[in-house]
Structure formats: C-alpha cells, structure tokens
Symmetry: C2
Subunit: 414 residues, 2 copies
C-alpha cells in the first residue's frame, strides 16, 4: 500500500466523530450518530470531499490533506487552504448570499471545512458537457460577480477594513503561487506538467511558446495578478466551481481566494463558457442550440455584470475610492462617464485574462473535461485550435473588442 | 497645565533609562549614563525626536505619542507607527544601505525607535529654503529610489516573500488614511483643515474645487494608491524627510511606509523639488542659479532613476514578475522594449502624483516652509499660482509630457 493510497482512503469514522462533536452540525444532521451516512463525492484533484446525510439534513465536508490529493505526498500543499476557503465563503456570502453555500464550521487543526450541502445541484461543467443549458445562469452569476467584487473593493469598503482583508488573504500565497505558475508561466515554456492533444497540436504549442508578443501580454497580466488588490476574488472561477440546479446556483471551492484584479474572476468564467462552446462544436451539429445559448450567455454575463456593478457603484459607494462628495451637482455626469470608462478598462483586462485561461487549459496541466471527453483527437484538436486562435487574439490585442457582442462574434468566426 | 503641554514636555530621564537598559545602545553612546546628554531636535509635527550624545557616539530616538504631537490628544494617532517606520528602515536599508540610517532598536511598548544619528546632516528643505544646492543629491536619491522600489517589487522578490511584506505593511492603515484624506480628498472640498494664501488665492482654490476633470484624475490616482501593491514606499518622500551633508544623504521618517504605486514616492519627491523651484523664484533674481540647479536636478532624478531601475531589472530580475526564462534569444529585445514601456507608464503615473502633491501643499493642511517663509503675500501667491497651474496640467494631462525635459520646460513656462 503506497502512502498516497493510504491517505486517499477516507477515514469516515473520524469524520463522523468530528461532526458529532459540533452540536450545531449534529443538530443539522439530526437523529443519532449511527443514522448518519458519509460518502466521498470529491471529483476534484486537490482535496477529499464528503456528503454526510442524517435524518434531518445534510452537510458537505472538505478535508485538505497537506498535499495535492491526486498527486499524493510528492506534491506538498499547505492544508491551510481550507481556512482561506472558509474566510472567502464568509466574506462573499455576506454580499452574495443566495449564490454562496453557507459555511458552517472550520477546524484549523484537522483542516476540515463543513459547508451547506447543495442538495439537488450538479457541477455545471458536467451538465454542459452532457449538453445542458441553464436559462437562469447568466443572470445569477452576473449578480454574484458584481456583488462579490464590488462589495470587497475600495468602492464599497472603508480603506481600513479593506486593508485588513488584503492583509489576511495575502497569506494564501501557496495557492496564488499555483496560479502564478500554471496560468502565466509554465504553459509558455517546455514544462513536464504541460500536456496537449499530440501530435495534432504540437506545432501550435511550439508557435505559442515562441510568440513573444503573447508572452509579453501574459507577463503584463501576471504583473496585474501580482500587484493589483482590487477585490476579493474567488480565484478559480471555472464551471467546475459552480453548482447548478433548475433554478439556483452555488459557487464552491474558494481555496484560491485572494485580493487581485477583478478581471481575473470575470475572465476565467468567460474562458470556460467559451471552452464549452468550442467543445460543443466538436460534438456535432446537434449541439448548435447549446452553442447559441453559450454565446448569448457570454454576452449576458458581461452585460449583466456591467449593469449590476454600475448600479451598485451609483447607490452603494461607501468606500474611500472616488469620494461621492467630490462629484455633486453637474459633476455627477462626469462621475457616471468615469464609471463607464472604468468598466471599459475592466472589460479589456477581462479579455486578457480570459485568453490566458483558455490557453493554459488547452496546453497546461489542468485540461478540462469539456475537451478531454471529446474522444476523436482530430475533432478535439480542431476545437482546441479554434480556442487557441481566439485566446491569442484576446490576450494580445484585447482593445480590439469593445463589447461582449464583439467577443462572441470573434468566437463564432474563430 | 494642559494635557498636550504635559506630554510634549520630554521626559529625558525616562529616555536615558531606556537607552541604558539596551547594552548595544549604551555601548554606542559610551561612558556612563551621566555623561549622556539628550536634546529635543524634532522640528516635525507628528512625534518627539531626540538627539542623544555620549562620549563615544550618538543616537537619534523617536518617540510616538498616541496622537499627533503638534495637535495634542484631540487628534489621536496610533503610536504603532514607529513599528512600521522601523520595519521600513530594515527593508530599505537592506537594498539602499548608504542612504538609510541604521535602525538600532525599537520598543513596541514605549513606542520608541532608536536609529543612527546622522551627524553633520541638515534637513534638505531648510537648506533649499536658505538657497543651498546639493551637487551629489540627484545621483544619490535616484539610486535610493531605484533600489528601494525595485528590490521590494515583484520584479525582484519571489511572490511569497513579497506577499508577506504586503501583509505586514497593510496594517499601517492609520497612516495611509492620512494620505488618502489629505492628498486626494480634503483639498478638493471646503474643509476646515485647508489653508492657503488668502485672499490672493481664494478664486484659484474655488476654481480648483469646481474642476471636475482634475478631481476625476485625482480620484483615479487615489484608486491607484488604494489598490496597487507595486513596491514598499517611503510614503512621504518630501524634502523634509531627506537629510543631506556635503557629500551624503539619509532618508528619514518612514512612518507612512506602505506597499503602493511607485509613482507615489517619485511624484512626491519631484513635487517638492518643483515647490522649491517656484518658491526660489519668489525670493528674487539672486536665486536664478539655484532655480537652474533645481530643474536640472528634477531631470537628473528621473533620468537617473530610470537608468538605474532599468539596469537592476536587466541584471537582478529574481522575482516572479516577467519571468526571464520566457524571453531568451531574440525575445530579449522585446523584453527590453517592455521595460521602457513600463518606465514610460511609470513616468506618467509619477507626474500625476507629482501634481496632486503640489496642489495639496499649496491648498491643504501641511504647507511647506519653502512657501510659508516667503513673507510677501503677493510674491508668495504668484509662486503658488504658478505651481498650481503646472500641477493641474501634470495631473489632468500627464501624457502630454514624454520626458523629464518636457516637465522642466513646462515648469519654466508656468
Ligand atoms: N457544498 C457542496 N454541496 C454539494 N456538493 C459539493 C459541495 N461542495 C463540493 N461538492 C462536490 O464535491 C466536489 C469537489 O469539491 P471541490 O471542487 O470544492 O473540491 P476540490 O478538491 O478543491 O476540487 P478541485 O480539484 O476543483 O480543486 C465538487 O465538484 C462537487 O461535486
Ligand atoms: N537619524 C537622524 N539623525 C539626525 N537627525 C534626525 C534623524 N532623524 C530625525 N532627525 C531630526 O529630527 C527631525 C524630526 O524627525 P522626523 O521627521 O522623523 O519626525 P516627525 O515628527 O515624524 O516629523 P514630520 O512632522 O515630518 O512627520 C528631523 O527633521 C531632523 O531634524
Ligand atoms: Mg479546489
Ligand atoms: Mg513624520
């Protein structure tokens, strides 16, 4: 028995003991301890995740081993990550309650995080891969993004409170390092972790790694990720971090949370919607309807975000940024123009991060199921090549796109 | 006896007791405790500062009361500020040793900071006001700026170490708040702390406070100050924070240190050189030589900074930003062009902060001696009005200036 197997073997008894010791959790499950049943549901690579059901209710428990679960002890990773996930849940739920599962308990010694179990929800990426559309998704996620980003920014928070939060999340450096390496660096070098559809994309990857203009644009984005402290990000907002049901949405897996550029969360989400779009194209003509829905969702996510964010700024500018007292009377129109300029710049930044995320998902370590489940390599490679072409254009020349409609037109023509 | 007088009365006995308790400090002073003499030398508004001399040497001790010294207990301010000053001295001295006094001891309970006494140095603002020129200044301060800013940035530090420093300095929020209020906000509103040469500048101030374009530009700079974590700043780099002798330079008073935009330190310093230039003009034609020296110093500070910073980036890029491994062979030229683009942008940002600093020093709470010692109000107002005109242009339209020579030409024509 290897070390990694011995730890992946979940210790259910210990887990139930832990829950039984917390009166609030025990009450939530109801009944007696021997009426509770736990089952590993983690499809993820990083942690162990359990659903625990009792007579009265259910909870979800995440356990962070001191390494990457899929790799075992050979890839150590701080188990403190659950503390940051917990704190991000607390902060984001304050502002976007309906879209963030309730954090119930965190044990900093055992590195166990217990959150509301999202009954009847499935992971969005799985649904998309199977061909589903989610009509309420765009509206809900646009609100989630606008509220989490706005209310943790200097537009909403007094500087002292915001600096406190920055300070706290700055310590999530090991998780940030993963993004710094995987999104912005490794993919652009020959690196043992990289993989792609080979030999079909070999030349594309070689070209990418010689593309100096692109590498400069990506390095500028990395610099933004390293230096900007705009808002408390989810930090890994792909469609595998979103659970959906018929009419509701829950954002999970905040372990990469940090203060950073707003465009990072926005760009990551758009990237994965576009990945789903290109992957659907590889599955054949019966996916045309889903493809149309995906592109209109891309537009609605950005446009909805923009509308909500602008509204929040108009009516909840309680932070130290852009003091409203300076822009009264006739100057309110100028401030409104500045809001639109701010959002135009944010759109440009979003497109840059979107392209970088697409690229690292085609060429890097963490390839998404949308693509990997396309079994025909020629079809897969064709879809991935279209993604890369769009991504390259978005990252190297983001100002060519003025609106979300420009973006979806480019996706259609890619 | 009022509360404020009773505390400003320095408790020399307690101070010498403190020094006697620290063997390293006692050794530095030499001899016996009764051979030591302490004298208050603080010309500042915020703290009590003492020079203590003994038979073998001297130290400088800064004591932070829990309020602004000049205002008394009616204006409370965290005495923790000496801890940040101490830590900034440690970090900056690591990289710019010759220009930063050695921190010797900090007492976090008594809020006492002991540093190397800069023997034979005077505060630069005083020298400038009296008409002095400092031929070595530009070269020295350019090196100081390039090294402190570069080596605390993501260009030089691994992200983990840099995030640790950001986290630490984030707690200096009370001092940052003073800048957020005084530099970027109060001056642009009717505020009880504002003062200016009245009635001469009454209309100028009114116009300034109605200048929506300027207020937007300043708010954008405030947003940079609030959100950017580029480098560990001095945070208040005016000519009163610089001590000079014939051939050396020491930067003091790091109590506003924080991670922020590099242009803030650069712009503040240029602002005070320009203030000295305009004030000298108000003192009569015999100051023409000093005025010429001041403008050539402005150019040499920026150009020297730019040269040093570029050199450091070429040869000491040990941080996570712009990974050198991505730009080898033919791509090194592209990276060099990116460095120049980076510095062009930094110049633009610097001019913006420079203008904002000039404005708040003409209209705000902390007016500099350069101006206040010009006794004739008409002459003073004329010089201040020229400063304001230049400052307004720099902040509202910084991209109109491509080089330091453009800047000094504008100063001459203002
Ligand atoms: N609150 C919840 N309610 C229901 N199911 C959940 C909940 N949280 C997580 N899950 C399930 O557990 C899976 C793994 O969760 P999560 O993504 O948080 O773990 P992870 O190990 O960090 O994964 P990753 O490899 O994406 O980092 C999810 O994909 C989902 O199926
Ligand atoms: N290391 C030193 N060596 C010699 N003199 C010093 C030293 N540090 C400070 N001084 C003297 O003490 C004065 C006050 O120091 P400093 O500016 O640090 O105090 P402060 O109360 O914070 O002032 P401010 O009002 O500028 O914030 C300086 O202007 C200088 O004259
Ligand atoms: Mg995860
Ligand atoms: Mg001071």
């Amino acid at each position: 028995m290897t070390a990694s197997v011995s730890v992946v073997e979940p210790d259910i008894t210990k887990l139930l003991d832990h829950l039984a010791r917390q009166p609030a959790l025990a009450r939530r499950l109801g009944g007696a301890r021997d009426q509770w049943s736990a089952r590993e549901i983690g499809d993820g690579n990083v942690n162990l995740v359990f659903a625990v059901h009792g007579p009265a209710g259910a909870v979800c428990v995440k356990q962070a081993p001191p390494y990457v679960r899929a790799a075992g002890p050979s890839w150590p990773l701080t188990p403190q990550r659950v503390l940051f996930e917990h704190r991000a849940l607390v902060e984001h739920r304050r502002h976007a309650g309906p879209y963030v599962p309730e954090p119930l308990h965190v044990d900093p010694k055992e590195h166990l995080l217990t959150v509301e179990y999202l009954e009847g929800h499935t992971v969005m990426r799985g649904g998309l891969t199977a061909g589903a559309c989610y009509p309420h998704f765009a509206g809900q996620v646009a609100r989630y993004l606008a509220r989490t980003l706005f209310f943790t920014s200097d537009l909403a928070l007094p500087a002292g409170r915001k600096r406190e939060l920055v300070s706290l999340f700055e310590a999530n450096t090991a998780m940030c390092q993963i993004m710094e390496d995987m999104v912005f660096t490794e993919v652009f070098l020959p690196h043992p972790r990289n993989r792609w559809t080979s030999p079909e994309l070999d030349e594309d990857v070689e070209r990418l790694q010689r593309d100096t203009e692109l590498k400069l644009a990506v390095s500028r984005l990395k610099q933004r990720y390293l230096t900007s402290r705009d808002a408390l990000l989810h930090g890994d907002l792909h469609t595998g971090s979103i659970m959906v049901s018929e009419d509701s949405l829950g954002v999970i897996d905040q372990e990469f949370a940090c203060y950073g550029p707003m465009g990072f969360d926005l760009g990551t989400l758009l990237a994965h919607l576009l990945i789903a779009y290109f992957a659907a194209g590889a599955r054949g003509p019966d996916r045309a309807g889903q493809q149309g829905w995906l592109l209109s969702t891309v537009e609605q996510v950005w446009d909805g975000f923009r509308t909500h964010f602008t509204e929040l700024w108009r009516h909840h500018a309680d932070g130290d940024g852009y003091p409203p007292a300076l822009f009264t009377g006739a100057a309110t129109a100028a401030l409104e123009a500045e809001r639109q300029r701010y959002l135009d710049e944010l759109f440009t930044e979003t497109l840059g991060f979107c392209g970088a995320e697409i690229i690292r998902r085609v060429v890097g370590f963490a390839r998404p199921a949308d693509f990997t489940t396309v079994t025909d390599p020629a079809h897969r490679a064709a879809a991935e090549r279209r993604s890369l072409a769009l991504a390259r254009a978005l990252t190297a020349a983001p100002t060519a796109y003025r609106s979300a409609a420009d973006l979806t037109a480019a996706a259609r023509n890619s």
